[in-house]
């Protein structure tokens, strides 16, 4: 990847993070899970997926299914930066005169499917992937799951089925930010060794730094990893990435900040001063 390209991706990611902070007030959003997958979503839409404003309904497009759902501010902000939707709509977050709320809505241009109930979209994506195989078409199908989401049995059922049907056009990217809603994954339902689990279920697996565009580029460049297995990328990330005052904290999952706090968080994002947050530390949905 060229230095110019890298700089451009980093610039987009920074803007996406600004938008996410903007959505964390006035009713709030799941800010931590949104910040952890910014590089993944930005890279996929900017570089990997054959999908753009003109082909979003075309059967030839590549598909991204955002299964973890809570990270929809990252998706909408990326779609806004890339021209799929008007960036001004992000200000309509939680207003009934628009369709932007705490989970993905497929009525928003570029969103392939709604999510919010965990463990659904791997199976929906497997259906799309198998149909592409049946028709001999080259579409890439990508699903982003959370790591807590891997608790749901349907994720593992889907992997068994998808490998039975040799769906090497299906890629599951795990946003491995180490947290489920309220608690560290390893303190509740431990997932490690995660690479071994996916391998034991028949997948080809890579594990990368999910905030490193070069690593994301290299991992996706190699797809398909085989001619008969589901591709899995475990992307190690940090919940709340970009805002040290909330990074990797169990109590900064869903946040609704004051306007002043979001201004401070923008300063913090740009490396100036740490924000002083006095809003309630935890609001559980």
């Amino acid at each position: 990847m060229t230095q110019n390209k890298l700089a451009s991706l980093q610039s987009t990611a920074l803007k996406v993070r600004e938008h996410i902070i903007g959505m964390s007030t006035g009713g709030g959003c799941f800010i931590g899970a949104s910040l952890s997958c910014v590089e993944l979503v930005v890279y996929l839409y900017s570089e990997f997926l054959n999908v753009d404003v003109d082909n979003i309904k075309s059967p030839d497009r590549d598909y991204l299914f955002l299964s973890k759902g809570h990270d929809v501010p990252a998706l909408y902000s990326t779609l806004g930066e890339l021209g799929f939707i008007d960036l001004a709509r992000l200000k309509n977050h939680l207003l009934t005169n628009d369709s932007i709320y705490w989970h993905p809505n497929r009525n928003v241009a570029g969103v392939e499917f709604h999510s919010g109930s965990l463990g659904h979209l791997p199976s929906v994506a497997a259906g799309v992937a198998l149909d592409c195989k049946l028709k001999g078409e080259p579409n890439q199908i990508v699903v982003i799951t959370g790591d807590g989401e891997l608790n749901e049995g349907t994720v593992w059922e889907t992997i068994l089925v998808a490998n039975a049907y040799k769906l090497n056009n299906l890629t599951i990217i795990v946003d491995r930010n180490q947290f489920q809603a309220n608690i560290r994954t390893e303190d509740l339902i431990p997932l490690e060794p995660l690479v071994d689990k996916f391998k034991a279920f028949g997948c080809e697996v890579q594990r990368i730094n999910g905030h490193d565009f070069t690593a994301i580029h290299n991992a996706l460049k190699g797809i398909p990893y085989s001619d008969n297995k589901v591709n899995v990328i475990i992307a190690d990330t940090v919940r709340g990435r970009g805002l040290p005052s909330i990074e990797a904290r169990a109590d900064r999952w869903f946040c609704t900040f004051t306007e002043d706090e979001t201004k401070q968080l923008l300063e913090e994002l740009h490396g100036h001063a740490y924000a002083i947050i006095e809003s309630e530390t935890l609001i559980v949905r």
């Binding site: 009934t96 709320y101 705490w102 989970h103 919010g116 807590g148 509740l188």
Partner: protein
Amino acid sequence: MGYEELLLQTAQDDERIIVMTAENRALVRNMPKNLGSRFIDTGITEQTMIGMAAGFALRGRVPVVHALAPFLTMRAFEFIRTDVGIAHLPVKLSGFIPGFLSDGNGPTHQAIEDVSIMRGIPGMEVYCPADEDDLVKMLPAIWANPNPAYVRINHKKGNYTHAPFEPGKAEVITQGKHITFLVYGMLLDNVLAAQKILEADGGVEGLSVGVVNMRTLKPVDEEVIINCVRNSEVLVVVEDHFATGGLYTIVAETLLKHKLTASVLSLALNKWFKPGMLNEVLAFEGFTAEKIAHKTRAFYSNEAAGNGVL
């Protein structure tokens, strides 16, 4: 006393109680440190949690299980029906953010068919408290009885102090000669406000408006429904639930069973509601006190005119 305190006290007094959650801890945040090993978080695994709860119940325990209402009642539905329902085990289901209480989450999180599917399971009881006071007044009876039960958890602070809970009985707040509201859950407050609007500014002299907080939808208080039909000109059924399978359906079934008919206005949902902050949702969907009063007044005027009353 709030939900969590009551649950902790009940569990401390009764070794049979097991508190479970599928990683929805909002209602049971302090339980791990206070209850120790009888608090069990299975992670995001609603189906497994229900199966395990059935296993506990087979050993004489009374599991009180927690998840968001849509995932509890719908993700785990067949486990509830098969493992809890067929075996008629005392598993107590606490469904969080039902109905409009899911505000900005979107349709994936909207439990507005939960009453319908839970009451479809033979032997399953269904409770719909109006607010925190109503909730804590009904829970001891629910947790003490030997039946499976679904509670549409609502721990919002309300504006009304409720009568003691009597199993199988609705709470008749006021009786109405002209109009009676049948309501359950978080909409009670807005219905009480609508009642005031109608009585103060009804456009009809001396309008008498009753309000019944149904409390239990299964087994339902048939006697109250029949009395309201007999003593009131019109009924208005208000619910944050699909019209199909909820209280409107229950009223219809009850009337048919007793060979009765009535003028009934259903204020319910026919599709998933527009997500947003709660007050905006209520305004958009027509469930503010003003909108409830307006629709009720129009319906009453029309019915009364048709019946030759006006």
